[in-house]
Amino acid sequence: MWVTWTNALAFCRWLSDKVQSNKVQLSVDLPSEAEWEKAARGTDGRLYPWGDELPDINRCNFGMALNDTTRVGSYSPQGDSPYGCADMSGNLWEWTRSILVRYPYDLKDGREDMKTEGLRVLRVAHSLRVKRWSDAHTARQTRRLQKIGPMDLE
C-alpha cells in the first residue's frame, strides 16, 4: 500500500546493496507469486494461513473492522502461516515480481521476466475494500489481483 511496483523494486535494490556491502551473499527481490503463496499457506493447500476456517477479527485485518491498516505482527501468532509469516491474509495487497498469466504456474514461460511489459500481480485481500463478512473469500491465499501496472500505487 502506498508503494508503486517500481518503488518496491528500487527498495529491493537498495537493500541488496546494503546487504552485499556487508559481504553477505544474499540478494533482495520481490517474491514471485509461487514464493509468496508458499510462504502464505505452506504445503498442504489450505485456504488461509491458519487453515480452512473463515477469517475473524482475531486472525487478520479485514471486513472494515478497524478502517485502517495494522502494524506487521498485530495478528501473530494466531494469524501466521505455517512458517510463521505474519499478515499474509488481510491488511494490505502486496506486490509480487510476477506478470499475471494463467495457471498452471510455470517459472520459465516468461512471467518472471523483469524486462517484459506486463501487469504485475498483487496478492492478499485489502481490508478497506472488503466491506461485508460475506466477502471473507477475498482474504483467501489464492486470490490474485489483476490489471495493475508498474506505476500504479497500491
Partner: protein, 120 residues
C-alpha cells in the same frame, strides 16, 4: 557460505555459552546454518525474517475444494520451489517510501542466495 561464517563469527566473539552454541551450529546441516545466517541478517537489517524451505507445495485453488475460486486461481496444482540459489528466505515486512502512512508502506521482500559462478 559467507552468511554462516559471519553468523558463527559473531557468536564466537561473544564467548562463554554463546561460543559453545556457535561451535554446535557449525556442526549442523546446511539449512540450520542458513537460519543462523538469517538471525545475523535480522540484526543487520532490523527486519523480522522467516525461512521458507524449498520443495513442492499446492498452488492455486479450484471448485473441488473451494466454491469461491475464480478462474484465474485455478487449477489447484503442485509447484516446486527450488533451492538453486533462490526463494529461501522471506522478510515479513519492510516499511519505506516518502508517502507512507504510520502503518502503511508494507511490502514483503524475498532474500535469495547470490549465485556466484565458481571456476571449475
Amino acid at each position: 557460505m559467507e552468511v554462516v561464517k559471519l553468523a558463527v563469527h559473531a557468536l564466537l566473539a561473544r564467548g562463554g555459552a554463546v561460543r559453545k552454541q556457535a561451535l554446535s551450529l557449525a556442526q549442523q546441516p546446511e539449512h540450520e546454518l542458513y537460519r543462523a545466517g538469517l538471525a545475523y541478517l535480522e540484526g543487520l537489517l532490523g527486519l523480522p525474517v522467516v525461512w521458507v524451505p524449498p520443495g513442492p507445495f499446492w498452488m492455486g485453488s479450484d471448485d473441488a475444494m473451494d466454491p469461491q475460486a475464480l478462474l484465474y486461481e485455478s487449477p489447484k496444482h503442485q509447484v516446486t520451489l527450488r533451492d538453486t540459489g533462490s526463494g529461501v528466505f522471506q522478510s515479513q515486512s519492510a516499511s519505506f517510501g516518502p508517502s507512507r502512512t504510520p502503518t502503511g508502506g508494507i511490502q514483503k521482500v524475498y532474500l535469495r542466495r547470490v549465485i556466484t559462478r565458481a571456476c571449475g
